[in-house]
């Protein structure tokens, strides 16, 4: 049997190759733009799911880190013009630092208090972005474009190369997060989600584990922000507004919290819906609202979770039909 990490890497590589081959088959700039946006929002939503699905911490302020990534990357590139990989690393560092401070205060709190304090921090950062005009450009955002000097023969000013770069970052980010959730740390996080008291009695430092998860999630969210800022060649206060966090929560709900790729499915679904509906309908809010209702009241779970459960149930039924009446195993988060 193949080792899971190796299997994931292989899947990731296949995913990247498929993405890389896509523009060769379909010559469409819209497709390229779509995948870049998917990469940005997908990383953002998957990182939120690290907290929501695996850590049981429903953050309403995750957009803070998305905005943080976009702004710090944009400001670094506009002011210093350092090589892009270095600027990305530095942006992740900034996000990690901020996440450490915010997390140190927030992760002690439970449920609704955690949600609201993260929201409060997000609004604080949003207000700072609006007010600190000389650095952030205030509510007009970072203007004048983000310079994208070529590095290692890669020119991100070319949309096709940006596409490959974003796809690579997406796959690397997803693999890293997958690795995190399949590691002992990931299982510790799930244990804390299910029963923090018990985890504490087993000698686990609950606070530190949660904080680590918070910092990691913040870093991956900021990577999403970096990709978005490269895509729009700017950064805008909306990136750090609560609606951005709301969008991520919605994506996670849409795609599912249990399956690892749930948020990715949710991202594709939301963007497809958004792009298609805004194209054909003037009252797109109505259509999106109905879709939310269908998912919330009809499926009662994200799409990928629904599909996985359905497959599981079918398998169990078949297993039950063929001789051995085994009790159905509880589905655990993978």
């Amino acid at each position: 049997m193949m080792r899971p990490a190796f299997r994931d890497a292989l899947l990731g590589l296949t995913g990247f190759l498929v993405l890389a081959a896509l523009p060769l088959v379909f010559v469409s700039s819209a497709l390229i733009d779509f995948v870049i946006r998917c990469a940005a929002l997908g990383l953002f939503a998957t990182s939120l799911n690290l907290l929501v699905g695996y850590g049981g911490m429903v953050s309403f302020g995750h957009g803070l880190f998305f905005g943080m990534g976009a702004y710090s990357f944009g400001i670094i590139m506009q002011r210093t013009g350092m090589p892009i990989p270095l600027a990305i690393l530095l942006s992740l560092g900034v996000a990690a630092l901020v996440a450490l401070v915010v997390g140190a205060i927030c992760v002690r709190l439970k449920e609704i208090y955690f949600a609201f304090v993260t929201l409060a921090f997000q609004m604080l950062v949003h207000s700072m972005i609006i007010a600190w005009v000389p650095v952030t450009g205030g509510d007009q955002g970072l203007r004048g474009g983000i310079p994208r000097p070529p590095f290692l023969g890669i020119n991100l000013a070319d949309q096709k190369q940006l596409y490959l770069f974003a796809a690579a970052l997406l796959i690397i980010g997803l693999l890293a997060m997958r690795h995190i959730v399949s590691s002992p740390f990931g299982y510790t996080l799930r244990m804390i989600r299910d029963n923090p008291v018990r985890a504490g009695f087993l000698g686990i430092d609950v606070y530190r584990t949660r904080l680590t998860a918070f910092v990691l999630a913040g870093m991956f969210a900021s990577l999403g922000g970096v990709i978005m800022s490269l895509f729009v060649s700017g950064a805008y206060p909306e990136f750090a507004f609560w609606t951005m966090s709301g969008e991520a929560v919605f994506i996670v709900m849409l795609g599912g919290t249990v399956a690892f790729l749930g948020p990715m499915v949710g991202t594709v679904l939301l963007l497809l819906l958004n792009d298609f509906v805004t194209r054909v309908a003037e009252h797109h809010g109505l259509v999106l609202g109905i879709v939310i209702l269908i998912f919330a009241l009809g499926l009662r779970k994200g799409l990928l979770d629904f599909v996985m459960d359905w497959i599981e149930a079918r398998r169990t039924r078949r297993g039950a039909a063929s001789l051995v009446p085994a009790p159905s195993p509880e589905r655990i988060a993978t």
């Binding site: 509510d139 203007r143 000013a157 729009v232 060649s233």
Partner: protein, 424 residues
């Protein structure tokens, strides 16, 4: 073993047929843009704007006016023989969505020109798309001066066909200072929305006011949040400060809410009120009891410029859409006139040739101060549009008389401002 479906042949065949039909419909829908593109030599003009949320009324009026003018231009042969097809999309007022929609309009829908009918943040996002794609882009709703005044932001393919904050402030400051000097209004207060537009415009207005009326001092400043529903706090603060005059650049629903609430406190009987964004039908017709004597800049009123052409334009719009045009409307109407004139001059609908033709182009327009509007070559923005201040009355024509400042004077003041800002 037989397939499960074979036991119910009828339902299976219907399903398959249904599936095929759905597939055909889907394929047809998806391929429509390409088929349409192949049929005619229409020129597609993309227009991202705000059609949902609090500013939707303005976005809709932009679309209406552009469509009205496009019909005229198409009836006269289109852009160098190519009929215009407007492709309009909602950006919901989000910059990342504006950038996405703008890119899609050019890359997937085949638009050769962008009319960027976004508010300011969206406009800066679309500006970057124009930089990336090199497509001809004309901003029609952003009044933020730096968009065209700042040389660092300038692009050869980006223009602005909209009024500009600095022009409004220069005219407003001059107008207010004249009255302040004549009536000895020295104690002023301001009340403007707390974001870049509000702060910049207020600062520029006060700068010109103090310059022409040196005795003026600002004794109170209120900065309500944008889209704030309740202004009681600001109003009581103003009443306590007892200024002789109040300046505000609140706009749209914010301005009308403020006036309705302030009227309860009889605020306007205690001080002169200067609201630059009052004279737009969206505000004038919504206020419950419009107080007489509010000083306002012209946004769009059909009585200024007081020409039969302007009145006819406003009436034609009203006849078609059931309401009067807005400030955003005239700007989006004029941009179509500019494109038509540029295509005629260049004898081409090619984006680059149009851009060359647009630079310095002067067109006849009912919205021009002297019947013409010019696309100034040096910073690719319009000048010479009708700009003035007047006082309101409670019913139509709402602002019977407007006082304008000669454009030569505006140019002088603008040049000084540019020098101070390091733009020139």
């Amino acid at each position: 073993m037989s397939k499960p479906s074979s036991s119910k042949p009828s339902s299976s065949s219907i399903n398959r047929r249904g599936f095929l039909a759905a597939g055909a419909v889907a394929a047809g829908t998806v391929s429509m843009p390409w088929v349409a593109g192949a049929q005619a030599k229409t020129i597609k003009v993309g227009m991202p704007t705000i059609l949902s949320g609090r500013v939707a009324q303005l976005g809709t009026s932009s679309r209406n006016a552009a469509q009205m003018e496009v019909e005229k231009v198409n009836a006269a042969g289109g852009l160098a023989g190519r009929p215009i097809e407007l492709v309009i999309r909602d950006s919901k007022g989000q910059p990342q969505e504006a950038a996405r929609v703008a890119r899609e309009l050019v890359n997937s829908d085949g638009c050769e020109i962008l009319i960027d009918a976004e508010a300011s943040t969206g406009a800066f996002a679309v500006h970057e798309v124009a930089r990336d794609l090199g497509v001809l882009c004309i901003h029609t709703n952003s009044e933020t001066s730096s968009l065209t005044a700042d040389p660092k932001l300038r692009l050869p393919n980006a223009f602005r066909c909209a009024r500009q904050g600095i022009h409004d402030s220069a005219v407003g400051g001059t107008y207010a200072a004249e009255i302040a000097n004549a009536r000895n209004l020295t104690r002023w207060a301001t009340c403007s929305p707390d974001y870049a537009y509000g702060r910049d415009t207020t600062a520029e207005f006060v700068m010109y006011l103090k310059r022409f009326a040196p005795k003026v001092e600002v004794i109170s400043e209120g900065w309500p949040k944008i889209f704030q529903p309740d202004y009681t706090e600001t109003i009581t603060k103003l009443l306590q400060a007892k200024p002789q005059a109040l300046y505000s650049c609140l706009w749209g629903g914010d301005l009308t809410s403020f006036i309705d609430q302030a009227s309860i406190y009889a605020l306007f009987s205690q001080m002169q009120f200067y609201a630059v964004n009052m004279a737009d039908y969206t505000a004038l017709t919504v206020v419950k009891n419009l107080p007489a004597g509010i000083h306002s800049g012209n946004r769009y009123v059909k009585t200024f410029p007081a020409t039969p052409q302007n009145a006819a334009w406003g009436d034609a719009y009203r006849a078609k859409y059931g309401e009067y045009p807005t400030n955003w409307a005239w700007q989006n109407g004029v941009v179509i006139n500019f494109l038509a004139a540029a295509a005629k001059k260049a004898d081409s609908a090619d984006g680059k040739k149009l851009a060359d033709a647009l630079r310095g182009l002067k067109i006849d327009s009912p919205l021009g101060a002297d019947g013409t509007i010019t696309m100034r070559a040096e910073d690719q923005t319009i000048v010479g549009y009708a700009i003035g201040w007047g006082t309101t009355i409670a019913k139509e024509p709402y602002v019977p008389e407007m006082k304008s400042t000669p454009w030569q004077r505006i140019f002088e003041l603008e040049a000084e401002w540019k020098k101070e800002k390091g733009f020139a």
